[in-house]
């Protein structure tokens, strides 16, 4: 047994592969938060007055709020006055219009991350709105999408060029007063992505944004808004890596999705931010509010996430099933290794008739990792024939990690059906021995077993993402066997 535990440790002691800092000149606001900082952010971004008003209302609300403590996470208090709330790559007045105009160092950074923008532009059919720190630096495929009336741009551009859409939908799913972190985001958000799919249009390609945190001690406050108009559909990919650093970084993003009648939105995430080192030092604090509203009849919103990074993950991609016959889905793989902590899950709020939701959650804990699933399924009185199926499985690797499950069910309509299944298993010595007897290394055996465990979620990911996710899982697990 001793030799085994030793090799478990060895395997889990894997350094973060994507750690580096690129030297891009930053336009950074001094640390601290007050009304002037918010006015400054708004001014730098040349926003219309409705945006500034909204930010200030959020700030006023935030001052009255307390940081939540109900989660199963442990971390030192965050000093919100030690954070700089705005950083942008220094621009040459007007932003780059083509890739050639983009700072070569930024492009080099993306290359290191394996995001060949030029190649993608030519071959892959994936449009990339790449976010480096807080300002979008390159957007491809805009024209092709533009011909279909699809708007895919940075949030700042949307505020400037499509203010009526922003004003109509911003905060319609996650109001500025929603929760401590979402409210902070509403006050100070710097940039993010905006997508609008017009009536009846099926977006012909996966829309993809790569986020990357780059300036030390810069909070990241991204804001994404996706609107799928009647009868439209879109698949959106979000993937992240971040460089190694010593101080913890706060990230508090907000994602809002709106699906109108007969519209479908599929939102997939691979989150691989710096998780901290083997001792648990450093790493990203990720407090995210993601919520979709199935506003129209027969609409559908599907969240798929693979969470392997961050020191702390606090994230509950949720669906408000307002339209009759609307469908909400949540597929999640969350992996915690070393000293990572994750408190993640979903909320499914059934309001319309015949609404359906599915929750498949796979939590993997290794090293000292602590993994919590927290889910709430609410069937409101109006949700005649509401259906929910939830499956929450936990896999433990080694002796020192933990898995926790907190499902909340609230059913207020007798015609509803709600099912919940849960399991906790350890990677069995028998399974490992069986694989190794057939010739697989211990590491490959764990990868195989874990990927099998996650299969139900991976098959929901777009093809190329699924392959990446499997690799990522194997990399994140290297050194974690039990």
């Amino acid at each position: 047994m001793k030799t085994k535990n030793h090799s478990i440790e060895e395997l889990t002691q894997k350094e973060y592969k994507y750690g580096f800092v690129s030297n891009i000149e930053m336009d950074k606001v001094p640390c601290g938060l007050n009304e002037d900082v918010i006015r400054l952010i708004s001014a730098k971004k040349e926003e219309p007055s409705f945006m500034l008003d909204w930010r200030l209302k959020a700030y006023g609300q935030w001052l009255k709020m307390k940081e939540p403590t109900w989660h199963n996470l442990h971390y030192p208090p965050i000093d919100f006055q030690k954070i700089s709330y705005y950083a942008a790559p220094k621009s040459k007045k007007s932003g780059p219009k083509t890739l050639e105009e983009v700072d070569p160092e930024i492009l080099a950074t993306f290359k290191k991350l394996g995001i060949p923008l030029e190649e993608q532009k030519l071959f892959s059919g994936v449009a990339v709105d790449a976010v480096l720190d807080s300002v979008s630096v390159a957007t491809t495929f805009k024209e092709k999408l533009g011909a279909l009336g699809i708007i895919f741009c940075s949030f700042s551009d949307a505020v400037k060029n499509h203010p009526q859409l922003v004003q109509q939908y911003l905060g319609s799913v996650v109001p500025y007063s929603d929760n401590f972190f979402a409210t902070l985001n509403s006050a100070v958000f710097s940039d993010g992505s905006f997508v609008y799919i017009p009536k009846g249009v099926r977006c012909p390609m996966e829309l993809s944004t790569y986020f990357r945190i780059n300036t030390q001690e810069t909070g990241q406050f991204e804001r994404t808004l996706i609107i799928a108009d009647e009868g439209s559909s879109v698949s959106y990919l979000e993937g992240c890596t971040a460089p190694i650093r010593d101080t913890n970084q706060l990230h508090a993003a907000v994602v809002e999705l709106v699906a109108l009648d007969n519209a479908q939105i599929k939102y997939s995430t691979i989150q691989n931010w710096y998780p901290g080192d083997k001792e648990g030092k450093g790493g990203i604090y990720n407090f995210v509010t993601k919520r979709g509203k199935c506003k129209g009849q027969n609409s559908k919103i599907s969240w798929t996430q693979v969470e392997t990074g961050s020191a702390i993950t606090w994230k509950y991609p949720s669906c408000i099933l307002q339209g009759d016959n609307s469908i909400g889905e949540f597929y999640s793989v969350a992996l915690t290794n070393h000293f990572q902590q994750a408190d993640t899950g979903t909320k499914m709020i059934h309001i319309g008739k015949n609404t359906k939701s599915t929750i498949i959650s796979k939590g993997i804990s290794a090293g000292h990792g602590q993994n919590t699933y927290r889910g709430a399924v609410t069937i409101q009185k109006s949700a005649e024939n509401g259906r929910n199926y939830s499956q929450c499985d936990s896999l433990l690797i080694g002796e020192l990690c933990g898995a926790h499950t907190f499902p909340y069910l609230s059913v207020n309509n007798t015609s509803a059906q709600v099912e919940h299944e849960a399991s906790t298993t350890k990677i069995g010595e028998d399974q490992l021995f069986y694989c190794r007897q057939r010739g697989l290394s211990q590491e490959d055996a764990v990868g195989l077993i874990v990927n099998g465990f996650c299969k139900k979620v991976f098959k929901e990911l777009p093809m190329e993402f699924a392959v990446e996710a499997q690799k990522l899982l194997n990399v994140s697990l290297e050194g974690s066997v039990g």
Partner: protein, 247 residues
């Protein structure tokens, strides 16, 4: 090929194997028979590299190499294969993918080129006919929801595909009905070759009617009490294990 010399081993301070000696040469089929608790499974698990056993003495050489210092995967790449008494389930991993991963891992270790999915599929299709498994079998998760007979046939399929030098079959016949036993035996017989050693661990004579061994050994209380030809198995069947003790 395999030389076991004065092997003694224990689990939780309980002596299971005591001064066991056995030699298996290429081309030979050895049957090891014995009652419950005689140490049969311990022997097979120990040879395959399962942890949790304490070596108290003796050595095991496999083609001249000291087997007991190697990891299970190293032993596998040298050509040692264990057909499990209780094959393990791996949910979410297809039989085909598992087998291909194993096959290519072994090839890689031996410095051979890995086989791509198409070529491998052809190979497996051909081999699975031998154990009368249809293709749907390959896409199902490893052993999950398999019947007892299917699990054992799957072990034989893996053995046929991986082409080991030494096959140890741990009670592969137990829990099989007569039809499944025939299929499994057919697979084992197809594996017989002059370059390959086979150890059949079993309780019963039944399997040996279909797979004729060259040698039969009786394992009792951690020791080989008696060795002989195939007729020894028939004697055992007739008289029971008590007969060995008395004689």
């Amino acid at each position: 090929m395999l030389q076991i010399k004065n092997l003694s081993a224990s689990v939780d301070n309980k002596k299971i194997l005591k001064d066991l000696n056995l030699e298996v040469k290429a081309g030979e089929v050895h049957a090891i028979m014995g009652p419950n608790g005689s140490g049969k499974s311990t022997l097979s698990q120990l040879l395959a590299g399962k942890e949790g056993y304490t070596l108290d003495g003796g050595e095991v050489l496999f083609e001249g190499k000291n087997l007991l210092t190697l990891s299970p995967e190293e032993r596998a790449s040298l050509g040692l294969f264990l057909a499990f008494q209780y094959p393990v389930e791996i949910p979410g991993v297809s039989n085909l993918y598992f087998l291909k991963s194993a096959y290519n891992a072994l090839r890689k270790k031996r410095g051979e080129e890995e086989l791509d999915a198409v070529d491998f599929m052809e190979l497996v299709k051909e081999k699975s006919k031998l154990v009368e498994m249809n293709e749907s079998f390959l896409t199902r998760p490893v052993n999950e929801g398999f019947s007892g007979g299917e699990k054992k046939r799957n072990e034989i399929l893996q053995m046929i595909v991986l082409e080991p030098k030494l096959c140890i079959l741990d009670e592969t016949d137990s829990g099989l009905d007569i039809d499944a036993l025939k299929v499994v035996s057919k697979g084992i017989n197809a594996t017989r070759s002059k370059n390959r050693g086979i150890i059949l661990i079993t309780h019963y004579q039944r399997l040996l009617n279909y797979c004729e061994p060259d040698f039969v050994h009786v394992l009792y209380n951690g020791k080989i009490l008696k060795s002989g030809g195939k007729e020894l198995a028939l004697e055992l069947e007739k008289h029971g294990y008590g007969w060995i003790l008395e004689s």
